[in-house]
């Protein structure tokens, strides 16, 4: 495996802050907006963004939840064994709200399709937006586009994009992993 660091350190933090400012442009004080991180890896992004927003807008009530999409995936019974879901933590109703779905890496778009279906169990939102820290461009299987993007990455299917977080992995970093040709 060959590792190429795409983003880390201060640049990573600047990217998160830019995403927060872009969100504020569209959502003002977030009174009508909820942020939903997609389990398992999207929740770290959603938590970080929510915390940054709370620092910038200390008087606002920023609502953030974690959502499991495992039971809504379209590849159940098409892979070796079933995926074991993590926990959904959504202590709010999204009926009539603006929802910002968040995931660390957007690739085929299938996770987002499942997330949109899973989300309906919590109500009918007024509007849904998508925020992805990494957009692996030109690799979509479905007509899904993000509204907010941290960085664009051009990659091929055999490569992998891995996002690490200070809170859980020790450092903020986005790495592109490639198989070395023999």
């Amino acid at each position: 495996m060959q590792n190429l660091t795409l983003l880390d350190g201060q640049k990573f933090q600047i990217t998160i802050q830019r995403l927060c400012r872009q969100l504020i442009e569209n959502h003002n004080d977030f009174s009508e907006t909820v942020l939903i991180g997609i389990q398992p890896r999207g929740i770290y992004l959603a938590k970080r963004v929510a915390n940054e927003l709370r620092k910038i807008l200390p008087d606002s009530n920023i609502q953030q939840g974690d959502m499991v999409i495992t039971f809504y995936r379209d590849d159940f019974r098409r892979r070796g064994a079933p995926l074991i879901p993590s926990e959904t933590k959504m202590d709010f109703i999204i009926e009539g709200k603006k929802v910002v779905l968040m995931d660390d890496v957007l690739w085929s778009g299938r996770t987002i399709r499942a997330a949109m279906e899973a989300m309906l169990a919590y109500g009918r939102p007024q509007k849904v937006e998508l925020l992805a820290l990494v957009d692996r461009r030109y690799s979509r299987h479905l007509p899904i586009m993000p509204d907010y993007v941290g960085i664009d990455v051009d990659s091929i299917a055999s490569q992998k994009v891995v996002v690490s977080w200070k809170e859980t992995d020790g450092e903020d970093k986005i790495v592109l992993l490639s198989e070395i040709e023999k």
Binding site: V68, T70, F71, Y72, F76, R77, R78, R79, G80, A81, P82, L83, I84, P85, S86, E87, T88, I93, E95, E117, L120, A121, Y122, G123
Partner: protein
């Protein structure tokens, strides 16, 4: 990613501790699904058809399985032996093969004979879930009972559970003993000598014939019904005498040193093995058991279905 070590759920006997923990962890998530505010179902099993074949009466289990299947978006067909060709002399394999010929993927079966589910699993292609076979096993009931204990106490290991009543004829008792032992609980059975199986010691459980002593020992008491339909001879003089010796009432419950948890797999014979004020008391988790039953069955069906390919 994780997988059960078995393709069918025939009994607790075929499950490892890892299997049981995997079922519990998955059931935790399905409990979340059942409490979702708007849509309480998921599409996971939308391309599956499941047949519920019941050769014996059932209310709770059949309803619970059917609900679990529907919450997973499976197509469901129900079959009750009383209204079928079984009464015209058709064999079990023929009945099931005919149902499978209509493109059914999974069979949930209850049957009055021990081993019926295992027999079927060897002769038909579909995955089989045992919903009770005679006096042998009732695995999903044991799983939901242990899951309810885990929910109440955080863990099953180290807990003391007494199973009171007709141990001899109860599939719930056998499956519960196997499941609780597998998870590290201490198990005691309590009942009249005639209703305790001869070889019970082989299962590594304690035996007690005095109800109050048994209740003072335990954290959880699982009260079983007297299975009169399986008793071809008299095992005790009268129901009244049984109630006096083995019936749980509020007076006994209040006299104990600690607050124990009361369970019952249903159907309850109020006033026989348990009085109404105990069944409806805050120490009883009988209705939690019923609620957990759907989540446990969803977990079992989901995990089995996921490994078919």
């Amino acid at each position: 990613m994780a997988e059960l070590s078995t393709r069918h759920l025939l009994g607790i006997k075929g499950l490892t501790e890892q299997d049981i923990q995997l079922i519990f962890e998955t059931a935790d998530r399905f409990k979340d699904v059942l409490n979702q505010p708007q849509i309480r179902k998921v599409p996971s099993l939308r391309d599956l058809t499941i047949a519920n074949i019941f050769f014996e009466n059932s209310t709770r289990t059949r309803l619970s399985f059917e609900l679990a299947e529907k919450r997973l978006s499976a197509d469901v067909v129900n079959f009750a032996a009383s209204s079928s060709s079984v009464s015209k002399g058709e064999t079990l394999i023929d009945t099931v093969n005919n149902i499978l010929a209509m493109k059914v993927d999974m069979v949930v079966m209850r049957h009055p004979y021990a081993g019926a589910a295992t027999f079927l699993s060897k002769h038909v292609k579909a995955q089989i879930v045992n919903a009770g076979d005679g006096a042998h096993e009732h695995p999903t009931q044991a799983l939901l009972d242990a899951f309810s204990i885990r929910e109440k106490y955080g863990d099953v290991a180290g807990k003391k559970v007494v199973i009171v009543g007709d141990i001899l004829h109860s599939r719930v008792a056998l499956s519960n003993i196997l499941c609780l032992k597998q998870l590290g609980a201490e198990v005691m059975v309590c009942g009249p000598t005639t209703l305790i199986p001869k070889y019970i010691n082989a299962l590594g459980v304690k035996v007690e014939h005095n109800l109050v002593k048994a209740l003072n020992w335990c954290d959880v008491a699982n009260m079983l019904r007297i299975q009169l339909e399986r008793q071809d001879i008299k095992y005790f003089p009268s129901i009244r005498e049984y109630t006096m010796l083995y019936g749980l009432n509020k007076e006994i419950l209040n006299s104990l040193d600690k607050e124990i948890t009361v369970m019952h797999p249903g159907p309850i014979n109020r006033g026989v093995e348990i009085t109404s004020d105990v069944a409806d008391s805050k120490q009883s988790i009988i209705l939690d058991q019923v609620e957990n039953g759907v989540a446990i069955r969803m977990a079992v069906l989901y995990l089995l279905a996921g490994q078919t390919q």
